[in-house]
């Protein structure tokens, strides 16, 4: 299975886009070697601003650069970009709808050994709740490339979460990301697994296991968490009658919440959320942590069986 790091793709594509568009600038808060903005920094030192360990100032500075007509890409670890600088994102970027792209690495718990302080299970909720924000989590490195292209072509504030861990490639034949659209990556009729990020490949693996048990699971990549594809979510509920959500994030405020919000108003069906159950992260290797927090294909299979039992 081919593996590709979404943050590695970010670094490469940012550099490529920077070569084509002189208005692209990048900012980092002393983590350019981890977020991968270092590639851009090396080739375009005059368009790269390392603000030091000061995420709030970095975020406000990016707003100012956007006001001067630049397209700033802002990077830090996801918890600091979304949490430490939350109010700056809200006031300085989202409220005036500025063209700032926050590409935050080290999302989720598969940050690993650094532990809870550097992991985040809250970033998607924090960003999703802000008006005017577009929130995206790529399912693989191929989709990340498409997302970057869209981000540059679309005015307005974006939050894009990348990961420390490399992801299995899903879109080996290419991806065409569209804002506000989910993507059915596997057809099925008995239930739908709606996932984002790393959990899309876990969901696909779960669907294989379920198929062997005679259960036909549809798998949807909901990489665009906001604006979310309401029609597709309601349609899946109507057509398959049960939904499992899967995310490397708290079950509070993220994808599971978003899907439940929509289904409760449109087409209520049994829902089961696979995600972090209102807990902080902890130190460990990434695979150990995914297992520890119940974020594996096995957990998705169990959730599918439970939700099918409730479907009746």
């Amino acid at each position: 299975m081919e593996l590709l790091g979404t943050r590695d793709v970010y670094g490469e594509v940012l550099l490529e886009l920077g070569r084509k568009n002189r208005n692209i600038v990048a900012l980092d808060a002393d983590l350019s070697g981890s977020t991968m903005t270092k590639l851009f920094a090396k080739e375009f030192p005059e368009r790269f601003f390392n603000i030091g360990v000061a995420e709030q100032d970095m975020t406000g500075t990016a707003a100012g650069l956007a006001l001067a007509g630049k397209i700033p890409f802002v990077s830090s670890f996801a918890i600091f970009a979304s949490g430490r600088a939350w109010e700056q994102v809200r006031q300085a970027i989202a409220y005036p709808r500025l063209n700032v792209k926050i590409v935050a690495s080290h999302g989720g718990i598969c940050v690993g050994e650094d532990g809870a302080s550097h992991q985040t299970v809250e970033d998607l909720g924090l960003m999703r709740i802000i008006p005017n924000m577009t929130v995206i989590v790529p399912a693989d490195g191929v989709e990340m490339r498409s997302i970057m292209q869209t981000a540059v072509e679309t005015a307005g504030p974006f939050f894009i979460r990348t990961s420390r861990m490399k992801f299995p490639v899903i879109y080996s034949n290419g991806a065409s990301f569209r804002i506000g659209k989910g993507d059915v990556v596997r057809e099925g009729k008995d239930l739908t697994v709606i996932a984002l990020g790393l959990m899309v490949s876990e969901a696909k693996a779960a669907a294989e296991v379920l198929a062997r048990k005679g259960i036909s699971a549809r798998v949807v990549n909901m990489s665009c968490l906001k604006p979310i594809d309401r029609e597709l979510i309601a349609g899946c509920a109507r057509e398959t009658g049960a939904v499992v959500t899967a995310e490397e994030h708290s079950v509070i405020g993220g994808l599971g919440s978003a899907v439940a919000e929509i289904l409760s108003e449109t087409y209520p069906v049994p829902v089961r959320m696979v995600g972090v159950k209102d807990r902080f992260g902890t130190s460990g290797t990434a695979p150990e942590l995914l297992d520890y927090y119940g974020l594996t294909s096995r957990d998705i299979v169990s959730a599918a069986e439970e939700v099918l039992a409730r479907k009746g």
Binding site: G64, L67, A68, A92
Partner: protein, 273 residues
Amino acid sequence: MDYEGLRETAREMRINILRMIHCAKSGHTGGSLSAADLMTALYFHVMEHRPGEPEWPGRDRFVLSKGHAAPALYSALAMRGYFDAKELMTLRRLNSRLQGHPDMLRTRGVNASSGSLGQGLSIANGMAMGLRLDGNEAAVFVMLGDGENQEGQVWEAAMTAAHFRLGKVLAIVDNNGLQIDGAVKDVMGIEPLAQKWDSFGWDVETVDGHDFGRIIPALLRVRKKGLHDRPSVVIARTIKGKGASVFEGKAKYHGVAPSDQELEAALQELGEV
């Protein structure tokens, strides 16, 4: 405009400020009045800008980091013709373009939304970085409150401007000595303020913020700065509520609108009745 003209303009601005806050029945009287002379100097003498072409690329930028002084900014913009002065009386009303704190998407001539303290200097720095990349020599002015210097982000941004040598950034501290809860020195002391900015790598000048003879040369110093120079800060000693003795030097008028009687007394003092 000569100093006499500026004084008359500032007088008219104070009248506008008092009338619009009185009409809105809420707003920040004290900090708008303390900033009125500084705002007059910026919009009627120092800044290069075109009211008929608000997005003119060559314009100097202004960020009102102490966004609660919005009535002073709105008055300056209306008096320069960015929009009809009659609109000032819609301040803070539902569907008004004049929000309680500046909103760049709604108000013609506002260069940056603000209101949450501590953020404007970062925004000004970003503007200066972007303009410099384009070889644009426009100045970026940003006005902070003195209480606002309690925000940590101000000092992050102070480091950034000095580190990147943003010579076209000029910060103004409206140093009226008061904040909502009382005297700045009692709430959370910020002194020695000039030494703090100096030690962060800024050129510091302290002036009487109500004396155009001191304000104007201090603000114009930014013109002599190169694109890669030390940033400048002008600490303007001001009086909160300046121009209307009923409000002068009183913390309680930080966020309180004038009553009918207070308005009348103030207008009389300003020679308007």
